[in-house]
C-alpha cells in the first residue's frame, strides 16, 4: 500500500456490507453473512445482492450505493470479473475498508484484473485486503469474514496471539489447532495475494495494537523486502514475531508461485533477514503453534539454566537430552536447595537435576520439590514433567502446579504426554496460563527460542 492506513475499522467494524450475500446455502457470500449472524455480531449488517430483497431475514441492497449509511467494511465475494465494478461503487459510497475474498487474480495469471483492482483502491484510498484470501477475524469484535462452515472449525478463545497468514488453508488449519490450546486469539488476518495491503501494513498495525502480545505469520513471499525488514525490526523490539516460510526449497518456491503469485526468493536470504529482525523461525506448523504458546504466556528468562522435576525417569532423560541439544544448560542446584530436597524427598530419590521423584510422586511430593526449587537463584527456567498415567498424579498435582505458577516470575512449563486423562489436565492447567507441552523437544526448543528472543531484546533495546 502506498500510504499509511489505520486498519482498526477493518478489524473492528461497526457496519459490514457483504457484497455477494447469496440466499443459496453453501455459497461463499451466504456462509459469511450467516457466520456474522450466528457469531453474535452486534454492529450493522448489509447484505448486497442484485437479485433479492431479503437474505437470511435481513433487507438486501442492490448496491452499496443504496445503503446510504457509513460502512466500515465491505466484504466482496463475487466472481473476479465483477470485483472492479463493485469496488468502484464502494469508492463512491465512501466505504472505509474492503476485503476481497474472491480468487481468480494474479494467482491464475490475471494480473491486469488485479492491477485494475489496486488502481481503484488507490484512487479512493480504501485499504483493501486480498484478493484470494479468507479475510479477517477479531473474536473480541465478533467480526469474522471467513467463509468456512463453523461446525468444521473450532474457533480459538479470545487472547493475545495475532495470526497473519498469506494462505487461507494454512490459516484455517492453524486456527483450528489453536482452538485446542489454552492461549487465545487477538486477530486473524489472511491476506492472500497482498495486492494492496501487504505484510508491511499489517505488522505496522499489529505492533501498535495493545490487544496483540505475539505476532505469528505464515509467509510465502515478501513484496517490499527493505520496508518489511525495517518495520519487522521495530516490531520485535515491542513484541515477539514467530514466522514460518512457505517455499523454503526450490520445489516449494515453485509451488508458492502458483499459489499466491509469490516470488518466494532464496530461503537463505529470507532466513538471514528473519534472524536479523529477531524473529523466531518455525520449521513446521506444530512448531508455529508451540512457539506462539510460550511467547503468549511466559516472562522472558534471565539465563539458560533449566531445572527439571519429573515423575517419570525416562522422560526426564529425554528432556535432559533436549535441553542440551537446544543449547540450554542443566542447572546445578544451590546448596540450600540440595539441603531442602534431602530433607523432604524419600530416600530412593537422587538429589540431582533432573529430579526423578519416581512414579508414586503425589501432590505433596510435587509441592515439596517446587517449594525447594522455585526460589533457587541458580535456576532460570523450570520444566515440570507430570505423567498422568502414574498412580500418584491426579488433579491435585495440577492444582498445586497452578498455584506455584501464579507466584513464579521465571518461565515455568509442564510436559504431559498422553490421551484423554492427560488432555483433561492439560486443559485445566492451560486455562490458568500454565503452558503444557506434549514432548521434551517441543518444551526445550520453546524455552530456547524464548531465551534467544530475550537476548535479542537485551542487545538491541539499548542501542
Amino acid at each position: 500500500m502506498d500510504y499509511k492506513a489505520n486498519l482498526h475499522k477493518m478489524l473492528k467494524p461497526r457496519s459490514v456490507a457483504i457484497i455477494g450475500a447469496s440466499r443459496n446455502p453453501g455459497k461463499v457470500g451466504n456462509v459469511i453473512l450467516n457466520n456474522y449472524l450466528d457469531g453474535g455480531y452486534d454492529g450493522k449488517l448489509y447484505p448486497v445482492n442484485r437479485n433479492a430483497d431479503m437474505v437470511s431475514g435481513l433487507k438486501a441492497y442492490k448496491s452499496v450505493l443504496d445503503i446510504h449509511s457509513s460502512i466500515d467494511l465491505a466484504v466482496i465475494a463475487i466472481p473476479a470479473e465483477f470485483v472492479p465494478a463493485a469496488m468502484e461503487e464502494c469508492g463512491k459510497a465512501k466505504v472505509k475498508n474492503i476485503v476481497v475474498v474472491s480468487g481468480g487474480f494474479a494467482e491464475v495469471g490475471a494480473t491486469e484484473l488485479q492491477d485494475k483492482m489496486v488502481n481503484i483502491a488507490n484512487k479512493y484510498k480504501i485499504p483493501t485486503l486480498g484478493p484470494n484470501c479468507l479475510g479477517v477475524m477479531d473474536p473480541r469484535a465478533r467480526s469474522d469474514t471467513m467463509f468456512l462452515p463453523t461446525y468444521k472449525l473450532s474457533k480459538p478463545k479470545i487472547g493475545g496471539v495475532s495470526f497473519v497468514s498469506q494462505s487461507g488453508a494454512v490459516g484455517s488449519t492453524v486456527l483450528d489447532m489453536i482452538a485446542k490450546e489454552g492461549f487465545g486469539l487477538s486477530k486473524f488476518i489472511s491476506y492472500g495475494n497482498a495486492a494492496h495491503i501487504d505484510e508491511v501494513d499489517i505488522i505496522d498495525y499489529l505492533m501498535h495494537d495493545e490487544e496483540t502480545k505475539v505476532i505469528v505469520m505464515y509467509i510465502e513471499g515478501v513484496k517490499h523486502g527493505r520496508e518489511f525488514f525495517e518495520i519487522a525490526r521495530k516490531a520485535t523490539l515491542k513484541k515477539p514475531i514467530v514466522v514460518i516460510k512457505g517455499g523454503q526449497t526450490a520445489a516449494g518456491a515453485q509451488a508458492a508461485s502458483s499459489h499466491t503469485a509469490s516470488l518466494a526468493g532464496s530461503y537463505e536470504s529470507y532466513d538471514a533477514m528473519f534472524r536479523q529482525a529477531g524473529f523466531s523461525i518455525a520449521k513446521d506448523l506444530s512448531e508455529l503453534v508451540y512457539l506462539a504458546k510460550i511467547f503468549a504466556s511466559e516472562p522472558l528468562p534471565n539465563g539458560k539454566r533449566v531445572a527439571v522435576i519429573t515423575n517419570g525417569g525416562g522422560t526426564g532423560v529425554l528432556t535432559t537430552d533436549a535441553i542440551s541439544a537446544n543449547g540450554l544448560d542443566v542447572a546445578e542446584y544451590s546448596e540450600q536447595t540440595k539441603k531442602e530436597l534431602r530433607k523432604c524427598m524419600p530416600s530412593i530419590v537422587n538429589i540431582r537435576n533432573p529430579l526423578d521423584m519416581a512414579g508414586d510422586a503425589d501432590s505433596k511430593r510435587y509441592s515439596d520439590a517446587m517449594s525447594a526449587i522455585s526460589k533457587d537463584p541458580n535456576i532460570d527456567m523450570l520444566i515440570v514433567i507430570t505423567l498422568f498415567q502414574t498412580p500418584g498424579a491426579d488433579s491435585s498435582v495440577a492444582a498445586k502446579l497452578i498455584s506455584y505458577k501464579s507466584a513464579m516470575d521465571k518461565p515455568m512449563i509442564v510436559i504431559s504426554t498422553g490421551s484423554d486423562y492427560t488432555e483433561m489436565h492439560k486443559i485445566m492447567m492451560e486455562s490458568t496460563g500454565l503452558p503444557v507441552y506434549d514432548s521434551p523437544n517441543a518444551a526445550a526448543r520453546s524455552l530456547a527460542e524464548l531465551l534467544k528472543y530475550a537476548q535479542y531484546r537485551n542487545a538491541y533495546s539499548k542501542k
Copy 2:
C-alpha cells in the same frame, strides 16, 4: 540372559501368580490383580499374599509353593529385599517365567541384591524380566502386568506394533499416545534394569513372532553391544525396527545412569550401530509414534517420487518443502496423467504436482484426481492433503480416499490438520488402514524413512 528361552508363555500365560497381591486398593499388587480381572483375562489367576485368605474374591495362597499347579508367569510386586526369597520359591514351584516389577535394585546402587536375583534366575533357568519395570502386556492374550490405574491410560487396540521400553514412564505414555492412533499393539515389554532378560533376548523373540510387524524401542543403554548388533541386523531383514535412544547427550547419559543404571555410552557410536543395523531412528516421542504408524500400514516403495494432491495451497507448499528437505522428489506426471487431469479438473486448477484442487474440492474432484494419479507409473508414493475445514471436504471425501487406498499397492498417506471435526475423520480413515498425519514434516519424514528401510532391505537381503 545366558541361554535362549522362549518368552511365549511370559506374554501369553495361561496361569498367572501375583506375588504381593494386596487387598489394599492402590497398592501395586492389588492394581495388577484387578487389571487382570477387569481386563477379561480367561486363564488361571493365583493371588499370593501371606496375610490373607481371599483377595478380590479369589482364593489367596501364602506362597507359590502352595498352588500345586503349573504357573506360566509369576509377577512379583513386593519390596526389593524380599524378592530373592520369593524367586527361590518360584524356582522350587517350577514357575516358567518371572516379571519383577519392584524397584530398589541396581538403579539405587543395590547391585548385590540384583546379582542375587540373577543367580536364582540362572540356577532355576527361569527367564526373568526386570526388576524396576512395568512388565508385559499382550492385548490378544488379555494379559497385562502394568500397575497403572486403567482410567488414567487409554489402552491401544490389537495390532502389529510391538513396543519395547527400558523406561516404564516412557512406555506408558507412548502406549497412551498410541491409543489415539489407528494402528494397534501386538506386545508391550517394559524391561527396566535388564538384569536377566535383556534387549537381545527380546528382539530374538519378537523377530520370530508372527503377530509383530514392527518393533519399536526406547533404549537407554545396551549391555551386550556385539550380540545386540548381530541380532538387530538379522531382525531388520525380517521386519522394521524404530528406535529412540535416551541419553543422547552427556547430560542425558548422566540422567540415564541414575534411572536404569545404564551406561549410555557415546551417542555417536549408538547412532552408527543403529544405522548399520538398518534401524529407523526417532528424535522425539512423537516421531517414534508416527514412524511406527507408517511401518504398520504401508507397503515398501519402489522409488522416491512423491505426488501430492491438496485442497489447500499453502499446505501444498509446505508439503513440497518437506518432501525436498527429506530427500524425496516431487514427481513429474506422465503425459497420460496430465491429459486426464486437464479433462477432469476445473480451469482454475494448474495441472502440476502438487495438484492444488482449491478449497471447494469435493469428493468428486478428489475421486477424479485419484483416478488419474494413482495409476501413474512415474509416481512411487502419494500424499493426499485433506483439510476438513474447507467447504467441500466431508465424510464422502474420506470414504473415497479409503476406497482408493484399498486398491493401492504403493504407499498412500493423508495429511489432515485440525481439531474435533478433523479428528473424527482421522479415526474414520485410520480404522481402515489409511494413515493420517497432522503435519507436512511428519508425513514426508515418515515416507523418507520407509524408503530408506526399503533400500536397506534391498541392499542386504541379496547378500
